[in-house]
């Protein structure tokens, strides 16, 4: 326990965080890229066509990992927002704020691929059912957090205001997830289960899981990369940040 808190404090100190993530982030990006490539190859070229949807179902390998990722990003953001508000930990503020744009990206991809998939399957790009509407609201929440954070001058105050909003918005996450079972929607119900047997063929399940793993790793890679920039901006008055700014050649990292 003691070593854990010690480790947390060490990792939580800005220069250390900066150094550790500098080492971590490229490897994470690389791993995510390779795993994702493998998953895509499997999903596009190896997995068989669906008997109902033929090849259109292959959108699932993008749509579903991104959808999970968007929800995960929101939860990650809200947890960090809570820590930031209660204990005023700088790193948590930054992690919360940098997961918002990444989550927004994944949510936007979910919406886009969902509509693209909806056109051949449902005959329309968009309907106003509960799943789709709540997912749109999720995107708005991400955008709201980003907008609020960018609109306030003082970085720490901005982070705390946006963190507050992120916490209030967490009620939407269960709504997105359970919307298919609470209301009767056009969108299909859950087929993949962590516990118990999934209602999906394993030849289709594996690429799905690979891509889910890849997007999660990517998420952390991206959040770390963004956090380093924000940290540098926030700690611009400190010695270590200035050393880095001086040591960095223009245009290189």
């Amino acid at each position: 326990m003691n070593t854990l808190t010690l480790w947390f404090h060490k990792f939580g100190s800005p220069p250390t965080f900066f150094r550790v993530t500098a080492l971590l982030s490229p490897w994470l990006f690389g791993a995510a890229f390779l795993i994702g490539l493998a998953g895509i190859y499997w999903g596009l070229f190896v997995a068989p066509a669906d008997y109902q949807q033929s090849d259109a179902y292959r959108i699932i390998f993008i749509h579903v990992p991104c959808a999970w990722m968007g929800l995960f990003a929101y939860i990650f953001m809200a947890v960090n927002a809570f820590i930031a508000l209660v204990w005023r930990i700088k790193i948590s503020e930054i992690l919360a704020m940098t997961s918002a744009p990444v989550g927004a990206f994944f949510t936007a991809v979910t919406l886009a691929t969902g509509s693209i998939w909806g056109k051949p399957m449902w005959g329309t790009w968009w309907t106003w059912d509960a799943r789709l509407t709540s997912e749109l609201v999720l995107l708005f929440l991400f955008l709201g957090v980003i907008g609020l954070y960018n609109a306030i001058e003082d970085r720490r105050q901005a982070a705390r205001a946006a963190a507050f909003l992120a916490l209030v918005g967490i009620v939407n996450v269960p709504i997105v997830h359970f919307s298919v079972s609470w209301w009767n929607t056009l969108h299909q119900g859950s087929t993949v289960r962590l516990l118990g047997p999934s209602r999906i063929d394993s030849s289709m399940l594996w690429p799905l899981l690979l891509l889910a793993l890849a997007t999660h790793i990517w998420f952390f890679a991206s959040v770390f990369a963004r956090s380093r920039v924000s940290l540098l901006e926030l700690e611009g008055g400190k010695e270590w940040a200035r050393d880095i700014a001086l040591a960095t050649e223009h245009g290189h990292e």
Partner: protein, 215 residues
């Protein structure tokens, strides 16, 4: 600075190692000072040295990065404010659509009323008789300042934080501020006043708190 007076029980305001930084750029350095009842201190410093910021920190509107503020010996936080502090800021804190009198009445409602004070005499003592019922919007720059000063006379705060009270005032207005400060001190109040030395206290030499921008 003050050497031979009897040790007062608890100073009204006490700042220990107080420092404020904006986005990690220090605005004013670690400051230590005490303010006793009956004292008026002039905060001095060039443009941009952090006077306004200091007053906001002391009122609780900004959270200091390090150090402590003790008011009557107790920690000051925005969540636990007392009736002790009144701030006169650049903004004035006046509703332009209300008359001078209505503005004062609102202040009394929210902050309480000093014993023996009343809105009309307060307006008279800042030389605004006859302007009680004029919307503040239609007052000139100096007249607005006077209304804001009248508010200080009404609320039961012992500590006044005044940001450039002399600006925009004419000579009689400057005298007025000095008289108000004097009588406030004599009543046992204290005040922290920012001002650019050129025009300042007439009566005696007040204590000075120099602010130098931390580079």
């Amino acid at each position: 600075m003050i050497s031979s007076d009897p040790p007062s029980p608890i100073p009204l305001l006490q700042a220990e190692e107080l420092a404020y930084a904006r986005n990690d750029e220090p605005v004013f350095g670690p400051l230590d000072f005490t303010l006793n009842a009956g004292e008026v201190v002039l905060v001095e410093g060039d443009n941009g040295s952090g006077k306004t910021t200091l007053l906001k920190v002391l009122s609780g509107l900004l959270v200091p990065n390090s150090g402590k503020i003790l008011l009557n010996g107790e920690d000051l936080t925005l969540a636990r404010l007392s009736h002790q502090v009144a701030l006169l800021s650049h903004l004035g804190g006046l509703k332009l659509d209300l008359t001078a009198l209505e503005n004062l009445r609102f202040a009394i409602g929210v902050f309480g009323l000093r014993s023996g004070a009343a809105p009309l005499p307060a307006l008279a003592s800042v030389a605004l008789e006859g302007y009680e019922d004029v919307p503040v919007r239609n007052l000139s720059a100096g007249q607005k300042k006077r209304v804001a000063l009248a508010r200080l006379l009404l609320v039961p705060a012992a500590l006044w934080l005044l940001d450039e009270p002399y600006a925009n005032l004419d000579k009689s207005g400057i005298d007025l501020v000095n008289r108000l400060l004097d009588s406030h001190a004599r009543r046992g109040g204290a005040a922290l006043v920012t001002s650019h030395g050129a025009y300042a206290f007439t009566s005696g030499t007040p204590r000075r708190l120099p602010l130098r921008p931390t580079p």
